[in-house]
Amino acid sequence: MKKPMAVSDQGQGPYITRFGPVERTTHALIIVSFLGLVATGIPLRFAYAGWAAPFMRALGGPASAAFIHRICAAITFGYFFIHLVTIIRNLIRAEDKKTIFWGPRSMVPQPKDIRDVIGMFKWFLGRGPHPRFDRYSYMEKFDYWAVFWGVAIIGGSGLLLWFPAFFARFLPGWMFNVATIIHGDEALLALGFIFTIHFFNVHLRPEKFPIDLVIFTGRAKAEYFEEEHPLEYERNQREGRLASLEAPAPSAATYLWSMGLGFAALAVGVFLVLLVLYALVS
């Protein structure tokens, strides 16, 4: 049998559910809106680069770019809002509310995450075993909080610049200077991180190349799940939840849009970060 392209479809065992529809949809919305925001933002930030003016013309000019930027900003505020609602809903429904904010299955950084960071560096240097991750590795937690913090900071400063007349009713004008610095630098951090570090960690490093579809299809082969998140897998096994998490193979349609969106996002992201790198070194 031909080996599946996506690393999450490789290995033994049934498919196990890892992400629900809300998480998958949120990630897809993040991809679309973030690429749109970056593409319409970098020609301004790097206006001095040779590619910036033709790029801006291709976007239809500053007014058109601003419109696209704001549509994507609205999507961003939308998924951020949905996420906050989801947290509240989960909090209401959860039997043990504490587990959302603390413990091995929480997104909140735990002492184990610090041990895992140290463990990974030891492993890099050949001085210890590869740490065994729980439901979310420290890298995934960093990704999550970077987006959470990023949306708040970039979104907040962006709102200031979007509605200056409103904010000038009670804020001094130099706040727009501060907002401009924060907005641009935080955005540079976000795009630099997502398009290099996140891409490498999750999709492009040799074990995972060319793509990991688990966030798109929501499921991964059991063997792969166990490799990536052994503690979570073993807990599910121990607590007898594995059977209920079993899922059918992704449908052809799901597989197709997952591959399409995933590879398109990788390509566009790499292209955009190369433009930025070119501007930074030129």
């Binding site: 020609p43 890099f124 065994r132 991750f133 200056p164 004008g173 630099g192």
Partner: protein, 426 residues
């Protein structure tokens, strides 16, 4: 050419001898001249060809149509007053300056005069004004009529041979293209396309007779005189410019610490590439021009949305002149300045109609690298930079070490899978 002239003279002499009685030959005045020079037969050449265009053929219809209709032949040709046969001497030359004294003096001091005398191919009076059919500059048929001046000057200044001979030097690039580029300027298109005779043509800026190179102190295009020259037409702009910081500095000769003197009209508008102020390529150049002296402001401008959009070639955001005015710029300490604190709301409201006291506390030239002047921007910048550097250094190392681990393991033929590690280190 010389042969033709000689044959004309021979024919003229023969014709005169045969046609005119001896008594008439002695008569002074126009009638005597016209006997020959108003007679077309007189101009029949050796081969029988008639030369109606020759300057020697001067019928009444030509003379009476000219500005000189009231003059007699000998007013301009005094050397021939003694009658026939003519003595061909240096006194042949027509002394225009005996009447047109000032124009003659001006021409004699102009850049055209020395070359006209020594090399013979610079213009004299007749080159531009013609000979017997002299017309006023207000006559649409005249070569000196505003609509025709560029073509007149261009007959030499757009001639590749003249350009090659006189304007070959590296620093004369502008002289090489002056006439052709003039037609593309707002002055040239106003003249040729809109037919607007009040638009500027060559002589309006360079003068008609006292044409001097820009390094000559008396030249109309000397830096010190440019504003006055342009101000002949743009009088309102000249008034405001004179009162501006730049106008004042120009009068006092003040220079910037970097040795720049005050800008004059052509520094922003150019001379032969003048375009409407709405042209995107031009306003980018003007911003650059302002930045030649105002370096710090130039740098900080491009860190704002205003500057970034301008940099991209779109003219929709504020450029220097939108806030500082184009010709009336004054320091922010001057109550008349558009950027004086109490005038800011009005200035910003041109684009931001809802601008209020808070809004105008925006720093359009805020410098995040200047800790003294903009401490808050500096600390914000430092905080953000520290954050960026920390994240990228940490995760850069994380990624590179990881990649190194993978490469080492793969070259050793081992595996990097955590599940395999798990077996070894339960």
């Amino acid at each position: 050419m010389a042969g033709t002239i000689v044959s004309v003279f021979v024919a003229a002499a023969l014709g005169a001898l045969l046609a005119a009685p001896a008594a008439a030959q002695q008569r002074d005045g126009d009638v005597a001249c016209k006997n020959c020079h108003a007679n077309r037969e007189f101009l029949v050449g050796k081969g029988g060809s008639v030369m109606p265009d020759s300057v020697l053929f001067v019928p009444d219809s030509v003379l009476h149509d000219s500005k000189h209709a009231g003059l007699s032949c000998t007013s301009c040709h005094p050397a021939f007053a003694s009658g026939y046969p003519h003595r061909v001497t240096a006194a042949f030359a027509v002394p225009c300056q005996s009447c047109h004294e000032k124009e003659g003096q001006d021409w004699a001091r102009s850049i055209h005069a020395p070359d006209a005398v020594t090399r013979g191919n610079a213009p004299t009076c007749a080159t531009c004004h013609g000979t017997h059919h002299v017309l006023g500059a207000d006559d649409p048929r005249s070569r000196t009529y505003p609509l025709n001046v560029a073509a007149l000057c261009g007959s030499c200044h757009a001639d590749p041979r003249i350009i090659g001979t006189y304007f070959g030097a590296a620093d004369q690039a502008q002289a090489r293209t002056a006439v052709s580029s003039y037609y593309k300027t707002i002055h040239g298109t106003a003249m040729t396309k809109a037919g607007l005779v009040v638009s500027a043509t060559c002589s309006d800026c360079h003068g008609a007779h006292l044409i001097l190179p820009p390094d000559s102190a008396r030249s109309t295009i000397n830096r010190a005189n440019i504003a006055t020259t342009c101000g002949q037409c743009h009088a309102g702009v000249l008034q405001t410019f004179d009162q501006s910081s730049h106008g004042q500095a120009l009068r006092t000769g003040a220079k910037t610490p970097t040795g720049h003197s005050a800008p004059v009209c052509i520094d922003c508008h150019t001379s032969h590439e003048i375009v409407p102020a709405s042209d995107p390529a031009w306003f980018r150049g003007v911003v650059r021009e302002c930045g030649a002296c105002h370096e710090k402001e130039y740098g900080t401008y491009f860190e704002t949305y205003h500057g970034q959009v301008t940099e991209l070639g779109f003219g929709i955001t504020a450029k220097c002149s939108d806030c500082h005015t184009a010709h009336d710029m004054l320091p922010a300490t001057d109550p008349k300045s558009s950027v004086y604190p109490t005038n800011l709301v009005k200035t910003c409201a041109q684009c931001h109609p809802t601008a209020n006291e808070n809004f105008v506390r925006y720093q359009p030239h805020g410098d995040m690298h200047d800790r003294e002047a903009f401490p808050l921007l500096f600390w914000t910048w430092l905080l953000m930079t520290t954050l960026l550097v920390s994240v990228f250094v940490f995760f850069g190392a994380h990624t590179l070490l990881w990649l190194g681990r993978i490469i080492i393991d793969r070259t050793r033929g081992g595996s990097t899978h955590p599940s395999d590690e798990k077996e070894e280190h339960p």
